[in-house]
Amino acid sequence: MSVDSMFVHKMWVDHELSKMVTSGTVPFPMLSDGGGTVGQVFGVYDADGGVDVRGRFIIDPDGVIQGYEVLTPPVGRNVAESLRQIAAFQLVRESKGTQATPSGWRPGKKVLTPGEGLVGNVWKEWKVGEAFD
C-alpha cells in the first residue's frame, strides 16, 4: 500500500515489476492510499513527505495485529525475517498459547513451554548462541 494511485501501480507492474518476477505479475493486491488516510490510522503516514513510510504489519486470522516493523524509506525490509515471525506466530497460535519461541527461533528449532518449571531454568533450555545462529 502506498499513496500512489492504482493506475500508477499498474504502470509499475507493466514496466518494472513484471521484469523482476517470473510470474509476470504481483500475486497480491496492490493497495492505493491516496492522501495517506489509512497510513495515518496505522501510524505510518509522514505528513511532511506526503508518503507512507515502510511499515509492515502481521495480522492474524482474528484481525489482531501480532507484530509490526516501521523503517524510514532508505532501508529496505528483510522478507525472511517477516516469514520467520509469521511461522512463529502460527506455531504459538496452533499450540493455543502453550508454547513460545525464544530469541533466534527458526522453524525446526526448539520451542519453550512457559510455566512454573521454566522460571529460572531458561538457561538450561536455551543458550545465548542460539540467538545468533
Binding site: V8, I58, Q90
Partner: protein
Amino acid sequence: MPKEQKVGCARPTGGVVGEAPPADSGEKTAPAKQEVKPMVQVGKKAPDFTAPCYYQGKFASVQLSEYLGKWVVLCFYPGDFTFV
C-alpha cells in the same frame, strides 16, 4: 476476494476488523479532515479500511475485514518505482 469496483479513495472505516464501525452521528459529512489518531497496538485488532487496488490486471476494491480467517501481511512503502 478483491471485488471489481469503480475508482474510489482509500478510507478507514473508523472501526476495527470484524466489528461494525461506530454509527454516524447524523448528517453525511465528507471524511473528517482533522488529524486521525493512530489506533495500532500489538495484541489489539487492526483498524479496518477499504482501499482501491490493482490486482492481477484489474482495478478492484478491498476491505481488510474480508481477510478475517487468513493471515495478512500489510505493507506500506513510500512510493512505486522505489525498492520495497
